[in-house]
């Protein structure tokens, strides 16, 4: 994101993957309850947190995202029974690998948020933004094939 010359404040770019059944609905509830969180968060709707392929996250970092958060249904509540369990295990592994590559753990997060938890969604996003902000701009993950 280009920085505004006058306003030196760093604004992170955050991609949030939200599952259609719980957390996307939770985000809608945060909206209808007018519980604000920074505009830095952009949500992508996926059917299930288990749909989030690690490639999407790598892509986001590669393209300059400063933080990525995956939100799903609470354990045991997954609309598809088990998708969030897979997501949880997959992301634990991916995040530790990302940390090894220099992308701090604070820039990645998995959170459970139900359709009724608008307040939690907003709070989570605020916290996450603060955290990513404190870490500063992300070092770009470069894919040599994508270099132009």
């Amino acid at each position: 994101m280009p920085m505004n010359e006058e306003n030196k404040e760093f604004r992170p770019l955050i991609v949030a993957f939200c599952c259609n059944w719980c957390s996307y609905a939770g985000a809608d509830l945060a909206g209808s309850s007018r519980l604000s969180y920074p505009a830095d968060v952009k949500i992508i709707r996926v059917p299930c947190s288990g749909r989030v392929n690690p490639m999407f996250i790598l892509r986001a970092f590669e393209r300059g995202a400063d933080g990525v958060i995956i939100c799903g249904c609470h354990p045991g509540d997954c609309h598809y029974s088990t998708g969030n369990y897979y997501a949880r295990r997959r992301m634990a592994l991916l995040f530790s690998m990302l940390e090894y590559m220099g992308i701090e753990n604070g820039r990645t997060r998995v959170e459970w948020c139900s359709a009724a938890e608008g307040a939690k969604f907003s709070k989570t996003m605020n916290e996450f933004c603060e955290k990513v902000k404190s870490l500063g701009q992300n070092v770009r993950l470069g894919d040599l094939r994508c270099k132009n």
Partner: protein, 666 residues
């Protein structure tokens, strides 16, 4: 290249107050693929929709992006609108600029910027959308209920009354299940047989219900609306149509007196002949020959029943028969049993005949039971004066080998029932109940338990019993502690009744595997959603009824049975099923047949097939995954698990999501 129209909604001031709608229109106009962009006060209104339809026709639009409220609100509306104009409804994407933008941001410049980014992401996605067609699969208008207890009976009756055909498969010779073994029911104390038997008869006479008793489900294939089920009808050794149920054979079977074959129905408290009906009110009233024990089958000699049968209904040559039937829906109502108590040696269940389980007590209290309803000790046939009840035997137990981690839910109530029934018949009996917690949530339940204490003076003591010690004088010494009074108790009893933990019928594992219905660690069937879809299995077309899903009492079972029936009726009422087109697809050229996807699929929608593929000019046979679109629910678990990238999800494809990421990160 798509021709995309972008429509930005003001939603009155809901959006327009924080997002500069006009600016959004200007900025997205030059996005790749966009040929038209406009804004309107209320996009979802009739006039708004009209605007969309006109634009589709005028500009030959192939894709739509609506920047408005949440897709959870109006995606359906706009898809229908597109369809009206002849556009495939799956060519529509919604950018959520209300709930996820205008409503949560205050700074107009910031909100406008975000709205543009969200619109760009949606536009990028639509560029990759492809028309999708909802599939159709026909529905066989017949249901199968597995299990003929109260849960299965009620479900079958409700479905049959709605006009659909139902088959019940019951592995025992008679329907009736556990409830038929009970004496009275809580909290009203009406007699179990009096309320169950009429329902059993109704099932038998219902024109829409077919009974397969002494039968088991052998094989299941197919999917929702189209199951093929093989049912094994075990050989009864009786010609069904000839038998009049007169019972002559059973009374004359020589093994009735000397056979020592324990009656399953009476929980081994009584013996039965080798040709038998489990109980007098059995439905159907046709006996069965227990070939394992029958002298004729063991030695080829005897044949008494065959000689005496007035209707010549005995057929020793009968074979098991397999019938294959098509069903649209399947209900699992396999019920429960109590756990094996071998691991609870401290309670002397195997050591003393006077230590019994609650189900055995039901039989001992039942007028049709082994003692004609007279409560007596099995050791000396004396009427017990002091009776001790032990709660939670194996329930709430951390050790997997010994018990179950859950509360069995019904024991507190049936124990209060037993205590009161005994006191009603024999008021000078002393009854002590050792409990950990008394749990009585339910209508009129706590009142019921309090009645046992206040009116019947049943002695409730908090503290689990440590050991039951059979004494030389034939009594039982119960060693316990009263935790509230702080003293150890050594109490003599004539009879000890154990509230053994409930577990799902052990046969359910096999059935769940056949149905690809998931079960939990305790072998209870899993619901599609614990709160919102409690009577459906995650596998489409499979429904749950009764204890197979979790511990519950009779009224709860009946309500759940009705709920399951409604879900079945809702399914059978359709002539065909529309299938969600956002399903997974396998690229056979990339698939390496590793089975990873099938392992994560919660619906059993993935199978494997050998296909011929051309790879670099070579013809090869490969084992590749195939997705059954009728079963796939579109969760995408397989797509993230697939190591070779062969699995993709229509409507949320890898490329579509990646391009959204790119658009956001631009």
């Amino acid at each position: 290249m798509q021709k995309i129209g972008v429509f930005v909604c003001h939603c009155g001031t809901n959006i327009a107050a924080t997002v500069d709608v006009k600016k959004v229109v200007e900025l997205v106009r030059y996005e790749p693929g966009v040929v038209f962009a406009d804004d309107y006060m209320y996009m979802c209104s009739e006039a708004g929709q009209e605007k969309i339809i006109e634009a589709i026709k005028e500009y030959g639009l192939t894709g739509l992006v609506i920047c408005s409220c949440s897709p959870r609100m109006h995606e359906k509306t706009f898809r229908a609108c597109a369809e009206k104009a002849g556009l495939n409804p799956y060519m529509v994407e919604v950018a959520n600029i209300r709930e996820q933008c205008s409503w949560i941001h205050k700074d107009k410049e910031e909100a406008t910027k975000k709205a543009v980014i969200l619109a760009r992401a949606a536009i990028a996605k639509v560029n990759l959308n492809a028309p999708l067609k909802e599939g159709e699969s026909p529905v066989t208008k017949r249901a199968l209920v597995i299990g003929g207890g109260i849960a299965g009976i009620q479900t079958a009756l409700d479905i049959a009354d709605a006009g659909y055909e139902v088959d019940i498969v019951e592995k025992e010779p008679s329907i009736g299940g556990r409830m038929s073994q009970f004496d009275k029911t809580f909290p009203t104390l009406d007699c179990a047989s009096c309320i169950l038997t009429p329902k059993m008869v109704e099932v038998n006479q219902h024109p829409n219900i077919t009974l397969y008793t002494y039968s088991e489900v052998e094989k299941v294939s197919g999917y929702v609306g189209n199951f093929d089920v093989d049912i094994r009808k075990k050989a009864r050794s009786i010609i069904f149509d000839k038998c009049t149920g007169c019972g002559e054979c059973m009374t004359k079977c020589p093994l009735g007196k000397i056979g020592n074959i324990p009656s399953e129905f009476d929980r081994g408290l009584k013996n039965r002949p080798a040709i038998y009906m489990p109980f007098a009110q059995a439905v159907p009233a046709v006996p069965v020959i227990d070939r394992e024990n029958c002298t004729y089958f063991k030695t080829g000699k005897c044949g008494v029943c065959s000689k005496l049968c007035p209707s010549k209904a005995i057929d020793y040559e009968q074979q098991d028969e397999i019938v294959t039937v098509k069903y649209g829906a399947i209900v699992v109502a396999t019920g429960f049993d109590i756990i094996n108590l071998d691991k609870f040696g401290e309670y002397a269940y195997n050591e003393s005949p006077d230590v019994i389980t609650s189900i055995e007590l039901e039989r001992l209290m039942n007028a049709a039971g082994p003692t004609g309803g007279h409560l007596e000790r099995m050791s000396d046939h004396k009427q017990p004066k002091d009776i001790v009840f032990i709660q939670c035997v194996g329930s709430r137990c951390d050790s997997e080998e010994k018990g179950k981690p859950y509360c069995s839910k019904v024991c507190c109530m049936y124990t209060a029932k037993h205590a009161m029934l005994i006191k009603d018949h024999w008021p000078d009996t002393n009854i002590t109940v050792f409990y950990i917690d008394v749990r009585t949530p339910g209508k009129n339940f706590d009142e019921f338990y309090r009645r046992a204490v206040e009116q019947y003076h049943v002695n409730y003591i908090k503290g689990q019993v440590g050991k039951v010690k059979p004494q030389p004088d034939g009594s039982l010494l119960v060693q316990a502690a009263d935790l509230l009074d702080g003293k150890q108790i050594n109490m003599k009893a004539d009879m000890v009744v154990l509230a053994a933990a409930i577990e799902p019928n052990p046969g359910v594992r096999k059935i769940a595997t056949m149905l690809t219905a998931s079960i939990d660690n305790n072998n209870f069937l899993t619901e599609a959603h614990a709160k919102l879809r409690p009577v459906e299995s995650p596998t489409a077309g499979i429904f749950l009824s009764g204890m197979a899903q979790g511990p519950k009492d009779i009224p709860e079972t009946v309500s759940q049975a009705g709920a399951a029936a409604v879900k079945v009726i809702g399914l059978l009422a359709k002539d065909s099923l529309k299938t969600n087109p956002c399903t997974a697809q396998c690229d056979t050229l990339l698939c390496n047949g590793c089975s990873t996807c099938a392992n994560v699929c919660p619906y059993g929608a993935i199978t494997y097939d050998d296909v011929q593929v051309m790879d670099h000019g070579l013809r090869e046979t490969r084992r590749v995954a195939q997705v059954n679109n009728a079963l796939c629910q579109g969760c995408g678990a397989c797509t993230s698990a697939c190591p070779s990238g062969a699995m993709d999800l229509q409507g949320f494809s890898n490329r579509q999501i990646t391009t959204e990421v790119d658009a956001i990160c631009r």
